[in-house]
């Protein structure tokens, strides 16, 4: 508590989730402080009051318990922890359901840097630029080991796994740069696996999308020449083809067009038109919803989720496509509305 007065101990609340998480945090904090005081003040009081100098050894009372008090303590506590649980669950559910209109950005993590891939073809290293007051959804994967995407000021964290996607979303509501940490231990430079989220006013964000220029005070600090991005957490950015375009090119270059139409006509393989976001029936009768993980799996391990009515002839593309390329293909398939 003294420490509270000595330094600024509140984190900035820079996302829609921050005040929400802090409210529950504070509730548990006060409950804990009160419970702690009851136990410790009670204990210290007893230590003084029933000190052996005052109460001789053979004058202690004979009490073996009191089931009613025990039961009421247990019951009261049960109620409180159920409240905490339910509250935590409701808030957590909100964190898990990204709105439809969220701006989607692909995140690729690897030892020891973060890459952010935008739909318009921008690829940023250790720097994520997002608009203020607009939901942003991150579709994340790792090229090697586990990592975890953590922004304390947003109160969000999500492990990033190899060979599949995990999601996290937020609405940033204050402009400024915010620290991104890798929170899952990943080897030598784990503590250097840093990035910045830059939250811009919507206008500035549009400006940045067109010109690549960041507003004053948010400019990318230029890394010293000798330090590579991998060890310094330094930022970099490149502009490429829009993601869906790139996906389209890959789609024909890699020969997908031989079996898949994008127009709705079935060929050797199912058409990919209107696939995303809709349920598909598999050979075992199971119905699954098509999301990024489903498409990814269809490409890298086609036999693991066989579509009903088709032959197992699709070759695996495992190891032949980079994470960026898989993201591009998915982005293209998603665009086939």
């Amino acid at each position: 508590m003294i420490a509270m007065l000595l330094f600024q101990w509140r984190l900035p609340q820079a996302s829609n989730f921050a005040p929400m998480v802090d409210r529950l945090f504070d509730f548990i904090l006060w409950f804990s402080i009160i419970s702690f005081l009851i136990i410790v003040v009670g204990m210290v009081f007893f230590l003084f009051k029933y000190w052996r100098k005052k109460i001789p050894e053979d004058k202690s009372a004979y009490i073996t318990g009191h089931t009613k008090t025990e039961m009421s303590v247990a019951f009261f506590l049960l109620v409180v922890v159920m409240v905490i649980f339910y509250w935590g669950w409701i808030d957590y559910k909100a964190m898990k359901t990204a709105p439809e209109d969220a701006l989607e950005i692909n995140v690729i993590a690897r030892q020891w840097l973060w890459q952010f891939q935008y739909a318009d073809g921008k690829m940023l290293t250790n720097e994520l630029v997002v608009p203020k007051d607009k939901p942003v959804s991150l579709i994340m994967t790792s090229q090697d080991v586990l990592h975890s995407f953590y922004v304390p000021d947003f109160r969000i964290k999500q492990d990033v796994l190899p060979k599949m996607y995990t999601n996290v979303w937020f609405v940033a509501n204050k402009t400024g740069p915010y620290q991104v940490f890798c929170a899952e231990y990943c080897g030598t430079s784990h503590s250097q696996m840093l990035a910045k989220v830059k939250v811009l006013e919507p206008d500035d964000f549009e400006q940045w999308q067109m010109t690549g220029e960041l507003p004053e005070g948010m400019e990318t600090k230029v890394a010293p020449a000798e330090a590579s991005a991998a060890v310094s957490g330094a930022a970099a950015s490149t502009q490429g083809e829009p993601l869906a375009e790139k996906g389209k090119t890959l789609f024909s270059n890699k020969g997908c067009t031989a079996c898949h139409s994008v127009t709705g006509a079935a060929g050797v393989g199912p058409t990919l038109k209107g696939l995303f976001g809709h349920p598909v029936e598999l050979v075992d009768g199971q119905k699954v919803n098509v999301d990024e993980n489903y498409i990814r799996q269809s490409i890298t391990e086609p036999q693991s989720n066989m579509v009903k009515g088709f032959q197992p002839i699709m070759p695996t593309f495992k190891g032949q496509l980079s994470e960026e390329e898989i993201n591009a293909l998915i982005s293209f398939i998603k665009s086939l509305k």
């Binding site: 330094f7 101990w9 989730f17 998480v21 945090f25 548990i28 409950f31 804990s32 136990i39 410790v40 009670g42 204990m43 007893f46 029933y50 000190w51 050894e57 053979d58 202690s60 009372a61 004979y62 009490i63 073996t64 318990g65 009191h66 089931t67 008090t69 303590v73 506590l77 922890v81 159920m82 905490i84 649980f85 808030d91 957590y92 559910k93 964190m95 898990k96 080991v145 586990l146 975890s148 304390p152 000021d153 109160r155 964290k157 999500q158 796994l161 190899p162 060979k163 599949m164 620290q179 940490f181 890798c182 929170a183 899952e184 231990y185 080897g187 030598t188 430079s189 784990h190 503590s191």
Partner: protein
Amino acid sequence: MSGHTEVGNYLTHPKGFWSWVTTIDHKRIGIMYMATTMTFFFIGGIFALLVRLELLTPGLTVMSADTYNKFFTYHGAIMVFMFIIPIIPAALGNFFLPIMIGAKDVAFPRLNLASYYIFISGAALAVWALMAHGADTGWTFYTPYSIRTNTSVVLVALGVFVMGFSSILTGLNFITTVHKLRCPGMTFYRMPLFVWAVYATAIIQVLATPVIGITTLLLVMERVLKIGIFDPALGGDAVLFQHFFWFYSHPAVYIMILPGMGIISEVIPVFARKHIFGYKAIAYSSLAIAGISFIVWGHHMFVSGQSPLANLLFSVLTMFVAIPTAIKVFNWTATLYKGSISLKTPMLYAVSFLFMFTIGGLTGLFLAALSVDVHLHDTYFVVAHFHYVMMGGTVMGLLAGLHYWWPKMFGKMYNEWGGKISWALIFIGFNMTFFTQFFLGYLGMPRRYYDYPPQYAGLNMISTIGSWFLFAGFLLMLIYFIRSFFSKEKAADNPWGGKTLEWQIPSPPTEHNFHETPTVTGKPYDYGVVKL
């Protein structure tokens, strides 16, 4: 009851190195475990100090990132597998469980000795692997990192596997001993609560340890034979390992804490001269905790990508742990009421257990709440939380027990003032080291960080300075314990006025504990005057 016939005590009778290494006396085996595990505590502690030293300032302070990563792995692996899991059951449990139920030994004395040697072999293998090639995965060995890192994870894991067998055998031995060897009159409800706690622990040891055995074997197979189990690059599932790992390691947390709770249940009544408050509630809450411990492992994985539904279940189940735990804390505090309290060193540790374990338990609520855990997971908040439970709980319980039973085990008394000063240093040092870490965690500092941004510098410095107080406290303790061996003065058979059986026999006990089999007629904590 105390033995007046001058038969030699267990320490000197029979004599000789060989008689120790081949002993099947549960007391000697307990002492050997104690010497071994305390040595590991010392080594693990040195690594902790080095880790804290590196964190004294941001950036490089004394060592490279790779060295740092190895050191925190050594600290964690040694402390968990070679110190805190075995120490109380295998050392103090071995020594006192049979005596407390009026038995001459455990049910299978030879198996008991075998468990010790199995433990030693596993520990030797793990230590050798650590020294020869290093390991840098943290004590959790998360895949796929642990499969790819260029260190000797396989051998360390095999060491853990072997030590697991020792744990299972000790557990079996204790369960059988409690069921078969209680002396006449020693009904279940007359058993000291320490026995209940070690019994509950033994159940977890027997049921949960095989799982880590299987897990480590799978890990080894994957690394050696390249079968895809946990590594997605080989077609495995990265999160599966976490399920296996925590399926054991969560119950293991209760293997670590329950025996410590048992000691607190012994020390508080004796030093407060009060019957324990709510004997049955404490006994059964140990069993309840043991039961729940099997179904909450997923709370370590709320942000791992585990399904929200699984998270919901694990969150609600975890909340239930709070209830038996709180009952215990409440009952220990209530035991002090209307007592006659003496604050000798064992009791000082017992009350600081209450103080720190309460903090440890309450901060668990933050981590069990899903949305708050998203923020706090894998930060220093977690580090602080489990050190409050493991060190503020188990180690305080251990130290209470060590000081409480020291005169019984060795027949000598340590210097009480030494005990008090060392307690104060440890109490202050511990809270300085770890309370600051709650703030660091809330403010977002991730764990296992070699380097950190400047805003965390102040708190890290306080934390590191705290670790030096801790070290000073333990050093002083080592000195007065060693000195007590050489003191001429003999400790009394029952210096604290305990009512359990171990205090009714000479200090140190004779080889067969009891001259003749005792008969128990009353409850273990019959203190106090009944007001009519």
